[in-house]
């Protein structure tokens, strides 16, 4: 009977604790949504990064646009000195490319590895391809 006799309502503290618990639950739900949104955005940006890097490597395979003896051998040879290009489709996305040093093989059958690194918002994706002289 003791419980039924208790005719006091909730105290302010009890109400506040209940509210805080409710808010924490609601916030976690909202957080989940934010998390999945971030995942979807990363997917889109990674796709743009991949296609951009692919396109860049493709131009190095075209002997008219990028002659091996001049354009390819003239590429920077370290990541630190690599050529930096902005990718306009995503804010703050930059692509850096450089070649391995020294080239493998002997002229006129040399080959180099071309490295492309795309970075944005703390994300980094690395790509590489081999381009040959003939």
């Amino acid at each position: 009977m003791h419980r039924l006799d208790n005719h006091k309502g909730f105290t302010l503290l009890e109400i506040l604790v209940a509210l805080v618990l409710f808010a924490v639950g609601a916030l976690m739900l909202a957080q989940m949504q934010l998390f999945s949104l971030k995942g979807a955005t990363f997917g889109r940006e990674a796709m743009i990064a991949t296609i951009s890097a692919q396109a860049q490597m493709e131009t190095f395979r075209d002997p008219v646009v990028s002659p091996f003896a001049t354009t390819i051998l003239d590429l920077p040879t370290t990541e630190a000195t690599g050529t930096v290009v902005n990718i306009a489709a995503v804010p703050n996305m930059t692509m850096t490319y450089w070649r391995s040093d020294p080239p493998g093989g002997t002229a006129p059958m040399r080959f180099v590895t071309i490295n492309v690194q795309v970075t944005w918002k703390g994300n980094t994706l690395n790509f590489s391809t081999v381009v040959s002289e003939v």
């Binding site: 005719h7 739900l29 949504q33 949104l37 796709m47 296609i51 396109a55 493709e58 646009v65 489709a89």
Partner: protein, 257 residues
């Protein structure tokens, strides 16, 4: 006060009264606030889920569109210069600046000649002057009469008969092709964008077939330095509102001719 409490107690637990109107109103107000809060959250989550679902689908379509088109451009111009393919005139493939080009670009479409699969290779040397190609075991089934083929990209021919793994050509070969030479299927492919869909017409009598939906624009530009290098820009837009648009730009250069 004591009496009032006692009365209330009596009313509440004795089953004689019920909640007072004020208590009921407060309870309804609080529960509706909570219900609205949860409903809002659920509704937001539902629309976010739907938007993400259609965005993912659109991006998938976009990637397929870019990769198919790029793959076809890489293989363009395989084999010798032809202007008739699949028994039809492929049109004017000549261009004042560049001579024969294996593609023709308009604002909403691109025709590509020469992109094809490699379904077979020779099981014996085919000497100049012969009109029969001997293929590896089982590969004859990949060909039908009337198809345009290319032998190692060196010369083209039309299949006039298929007997087991031997192809009979409509004309004698001009060159000698060694054992293991690849036999390609020549294709005339037309990619076009319209009504939010990228379609592919292989001019084989089936008409344009949908390749990817959610594709709203396509732009193809040849490089000023090398006409063989094309930059493909494809825009995808989700079918649901609010629409999400993504544009992908790829650069490819054709390896042939």
């Amino acid at each position: 006060m004591e009496r009032k409490h006692a009365q209330l107690q009596h009313r509440r637990f004795g089953g004689l009264g019920g909640f007072s109107l004020v208590e009921l109103l407060v309870a309804i107000a609080i529960s509706s606030i909570l219900a609205i809060a949860f409903w809002t959250l659920a509704a937001t989550q539902d629309s976010t889920y739907k938007a993400q679902d259609s965005t993912g689908e659109m991006q998938q379509n976009l990637r397929v569109a870019v990769q198919m088109l790029s793959g076809s451009i890489i293989g363009a111009g395989l084999g010798p210069q032809v202007s008739t393919i699949n028994g039809q005139n492929a049109g004017a493939w000549y261009n004042a600046a560049n001579g024969w080009v294996p593609y023709r670009i308009t604002a909403t479409s691109i025709d590509i000649i020469g992109c094809g699969q490699v379904p077979a290779s020779l099981s014996a040397q085919a000497a100049a002057g012969t009109n029969v190609l001997a293929l590896q075991a089982g590969q004859g089934a990949n060909f039908t009469v009337g198809q345009d083929i290319s032998v190692e990209g060196m010369e083209s021919a039309v299949v006039s008969a298929v007997a087991g793994d031997n192809l009979t050509l409509s004309a004698a070969l001009a060159l000698t092709h060694p054992l293991q030479s690849n036999v390609y299927l020549l294709q005339w492919a037309t990619y076009s964008v319209g009504g939010g869909t990228l379609s592919l017409d292989l001019h084989n009598g089936n008409g344009p077939q949908a390749v990817a939906s959610d594709i709203t624009a396509m732009n193809i530009v040849a490089s000023a330095v090398d006409p063989k290098e094309l930059t493909v820009t494809i825009t995808g837009t989700t079918a649901t509102t609010p629409t999400v648009t993504t544009t992908l730009t790829d650069t490819v250069f054709r390896r042939n001719n």
